[in-house]
Symmetry: C2
């Protein structure tokens, strides 16, 4: 440990964050160094604590520190919004109009990357829909090729169960990502969702 | 601790970094959560270790994990480059042409913020210059009002000691900050430094 410069090590770690290069990592590192010890420890401990305590909700697959997340344990199962990743749940939660459940697929069907229907949480979705007596499933996967294909695939499996399946309106531009959509666009897309 | 959501706590900590808002903090937090435990711990430990081990070099005032930093313990004292903050040393170090020492003032003279000459490391600079027999001091404080005033003030104290005092050429635009200058601009500014 004597050989690695602690500051350099910190910079290297910041560089592992998405979109962070040398200069930004250095700014972050200097910001840490200039804090008091308590402040730096709080930062470090929040990382350790989050990694230790955060796991997947046994119901929806979103991140939570409980066995069943707050959303799953308090909301009605009439509507389920299906997303690709946990971060998409935060994006959808900004739409105050939405009060239903979520289901995180943890990926999309992508033959090029060898990900088939059994590699994402589709089976779990079908089970939840049956168990909860869900009336509508909103497919909110990204409006790109894999997202569309996954939505179509899941819709085909759900319709025979007598469930309405809708898709977020294509107010969102093709090729964009749910994570970066602004609230107005998302609200509109939710309002104008079309039946599949 | 049960009441604070560990993910929210992590996001809040990331938001304390310079220039990081809610969305970026969330992206960073998700990036941490998606790592294995070892990866997350390495990140946290690099913060703790840097904060614990990094202190000021007893000579130049830059960050180091030694008593005297690597630059001070290996280079000649013929030239000293005076900067405002530790991060400015990293900026200057990109200029391969420079092989002298540094002196970090830890601030600039700023009457509006009640910072006078005795609140920054000017006395220590004069002592080093005498002790090392320094031939030239390059004033590389930022090209803004406080940086200029500080450079003028220090120059007046150094000249009676028979030391050449120079200033980075104003190839840098007024009001900009050393930290963000590109290497070409910095190299030129160093080359064309003017006597004070």
């Amino acid at each position: 440990m004597e050989e690695i410069d602690p500051l350099e090590r910190l910079v290297e770690n910041f560089k592992t964050l998405p979109g962070v290069g040398q200069k930004t990592a250095q700014r972050y590192a200097y910001s840490i160094i200039s804090r008091d010890e308590e402040g730096a420890n709080e930062f470090a401990n929040s990382i350790i604590s989050a990694k230790k305590k955060i796991k997947y909700c046994s119901e929806c697959g979103n991140y939570t520190d409980k066995d069943v997340c707050k959303i799953c344990s308090t909301r009605s199962g009439d509507i389920i919004c299906v997303v690709k990743e946990p971060k998409d749940v935060s994006a959808m939660e900004k739409v105050r109009a939405y009060n239903g459940l979520y289901h995180v697929l943890h990926g999309t069907i992508n033959p090029l990357e060898n990900r088939g229907p059994n590699d994402i949480r589709i089976k779990e979705l079908l089970e939840r829909v049956s168990k909860l007596g869900t009336k509508e499933v909103i497919m909110a996967t990204n409006p790109d090729v894999e997202g569309e294909a996954t939505a179509m695939y899941v819709a085909k499996l759900l319709k025979p169960l007598g469930v309405k399946v809708s898709r977020l309106a294509q107010g969102m531009s093709m090729g964009s990502e749910l994570e970066y959509a602004d609230e107005v666009t998302l609200t509109k897309a939710l309002e104008k969702r079309s039946m599949m």
